[in-house]
Symmetry: C2
């Protein structure tokens, strides 16, 4: 509060103004230097200098070249132009900088490259059973994947300024020195792993320090930035693989919790004295509504323990499989009712492993939402199904890098 | 973001600077004008003028008079002094301004007056069964109570700048025109009541517009400001009367939710296909752990349906009553586990009607917290019991007025 009246400090002033100008361009799409001066309260001369620096650094480009900016020829075309005429509008450029998102889960690795427009420029999945692999072995393979992605980005003229890694577990920000600790990833069998050290050992160094977060949080953000979450108000994104992950979007931002541990819907209790969970509680949602739990409950109706076989059994109308998923839907609905009542949410997004099961899960979930929350608030919370699929965590991680870069371009200028 | 670089606007400048200076005095206790100038970045001359205005308006007083400020003589003594010597420290004065907090619940009305130090200056409970009374009749009686409190404050030299009202139901901020609507207060039987209109009709007009909120939220804030919540990190305050109320404190502030509906722990689901709740769901916590639910479950072990009789039965070791409260404790524990896992909370405060039952409730609640959340985060969330009793909602409401006033003294200058 006190700083608002202090004289403006010149240390960091240019960095701050670069952010201001780029922020105005990000929010307004395509603006002239005069309009950017109005929007930021800076002088036109100052803005022209900043726009020149942002152009030179590849963050913005003349708006009339924007249609070409995604193409491979855009970089060469723009670099010869300089800052351009003062009356000509500029816009964010998708031609130079990128964010690299990586994700590790029980079934493999995935990677996604986004440019500054949020456009997908490369992606890849490596299918691999990670359930019994040591962190170092996984990180080494992740390093190979990251290098392939950087090569593919480079072939399009893109440089990844940083990377973010999505992990299927409790990523705790209390690690000390601003470092994170992966406290527990039940489906990988990892405990108290330091992602920063792993990344430093196996991943190529980039300009920004790497960021690590929970996969469900990154998936929830991906829905917000480029999926069904864009128009939903406050919502919870819930997905299932071996476990259950959920991410909360409140006020347009990720709600992480003070220690970064928020959103553990999978350990909400839905059955008193129910099945013992790896977390120590009994009757956690995960014991009824993870893919593994549905497979167990579907028994011999499912030919082999895979999500594809479960889907086949449902499609064939096998009764034990149908009952298992119906049961899971009621459990998910119960946990979501608790989440909505506690957090005042407007909507729910089913993602990840729940997407192919949505035709069977949605009914019981929708029923639960309509009853209590619908009556308490006069209208039932909205239920949506993700369209981003397998890449949501890596895509959200890449988007997180892009957002960091757009918020503070001086990080790489 | 853009405003940080805009030229300072002179409209509202003095109001803003009054807030800045008073804020520095609130945070630092007792400061000289020179120190206040350092803390705010304003010149000493400007600060001296602002301190003079704040002194004249009764917000601050010479710090050496502070020990007397709560006494009836303080106002006369101070008003003759003027702004005082520049080197002499000033501090917040408890002698002139107050906040009035009011609360309506199923069993009565309560009121609390706090001065700017957060010191209790008057309080009163009116015991009354409000379960079948019309909002207008209750508001009329609330008006009488408010006038008595204003008289008692006035006799101590205090003027209440505003009032806040705590209600036992869903207070929705979507009422339009910034107005609130009490959507549903199950224990009063009120639906879609407009508190602002009721207050305008029956309460004395004060300088600030009245504020209405959920009783559980105000109780949670009261714990934060003057109870066991002060050192707890992020917590949920849960209490029981006829229903169950909970308030969330996150980052030191109340987490209201986007529509002001957050914290409905009482409608978290703890029993699949359980008892039908007034909200439309089955198996809500309220059906097992409200005082009424415990009384029903205790059956003939309890001589009459009152909290006092339940307490007597527990003290006498009556087995059905003990089992009912044990069951309630397990249900509260289950709902709290869900809340902690979703919101990343550090602690739980049992308040209101749970306080006398804490010797019987705490065991099962503590067990639930130690299992899942304790294992997931390495340490079990802390369990505390409120010391504020019956007045927590009204005290929190009064505190909310005081905080509003300290944040923006220009509201009454
Ligand atoms: Zn669990
Ligand atoms: Zn309910």
């Amino acid at each position: 509060m006190a700083q608002a009246s202090e004289p403006v400090r010149h240390t960091g002033m240019r960095e701050h103004n670069l952010s201001l100008v780029l922020g105005a361009i990000v929010r307004h799409g395509s603006v002239t230097r005069a309009r950017a001066a109005e929007l930021t309260g800076l002088t036109k001369t100052t803005v022209s200098g900043l726009v020149a620096a942002l152009t030179e650094a590849g963050f913005v480009a003349p708006a009339d070249a924007r249609a070409d900016a995604d193409g491979p020829g855009a970089r060469g075309e723009r670099s010869g132009r300089g800052p351009g005429r003062p009356g000509a509008p500029v816009a964010v450029s998708g031609a130079r900088h990128a964010g690299l998102g990586l994700a590790v889960d029980a079934d493999g690795l995935s990677a996604f490259v986004l440019d500054l427009h949020g456009t997908a420029r490369a992606h890849e999945v490596v299918v691999r059973d990670n359930r019994t692999r040591a962190p170092d072995a996984v990180a080494a393979e992740l390093g190979d994947l990251a290098r392939r992605m950087l090569d593919r980005a480079g072939a399009q003229g893109l440089t990844a300024a940083g990377l973010a890694l999505a992990l299927p577990g409790l990523v705790d920000r209390r690690g000390g020195d601003g470092r994170t600790v992966l406290r527990f990833a039940p489906n990988l069998g990892w405990r108290n792993v330091a992602p920063d050290a792993l990344l430093a050992a196996h991943l190529p160094p980039l300009r920004l320090p790497p960021e690590t977060g929970n996969e469900a949080n990154f998936a929830a953000l991906a829905e917000r930035w480029s999926g069904v979450g864009a128009g939903l108000g406050d919502y919870i994104h819930v997905s299932a693989e071996v476990g259950i992950g959920a991410g909360l979007i409140i006020g347009g931002e990720l709600f992480r919790g003070t220690h970064g541990l928020a959103g553990e819907l999978g350990h909400c209790l839905v059955e008193p004295d129910g099945a013992l969970c790896g977390c120590g509680s009994r009757g956690c949602l995960e014991q009824y509504a993870s893919i593994d739990a549905m497979l167990r409950a579907a028994g011999s109706d499912v030919a082999e323990p895979t999500a594809a076989a479960l889907l086949a059994a449902l499609t064939a109308g096998r009764p034990t499989a149908l009952a298992a998923v119906e049961r899971a839907g009621r459990a998910v609905g119960a946990a979501l009712v608790s989440a909505i009542n506690l957090l005042d949410l407007d909507a729910v997004v089913l993602g990840g492993g729940y997407v192919p099961l949505a035709p069977w899960l949605s009914g019981p979930v929708r029923d639960a939402l309509a009853r209590g929350p619908g009556r308490l608030r006069g209208t039932a919370p909205h239920l949506a199904v993700s369209t981003l699929g397998r890449y949501a965590p890596a895509r959200g991680a890449a988007g997180s890098v892009v957002r960091r870069l757009l918020a503070d371009p001086a990080l790489v200028i």
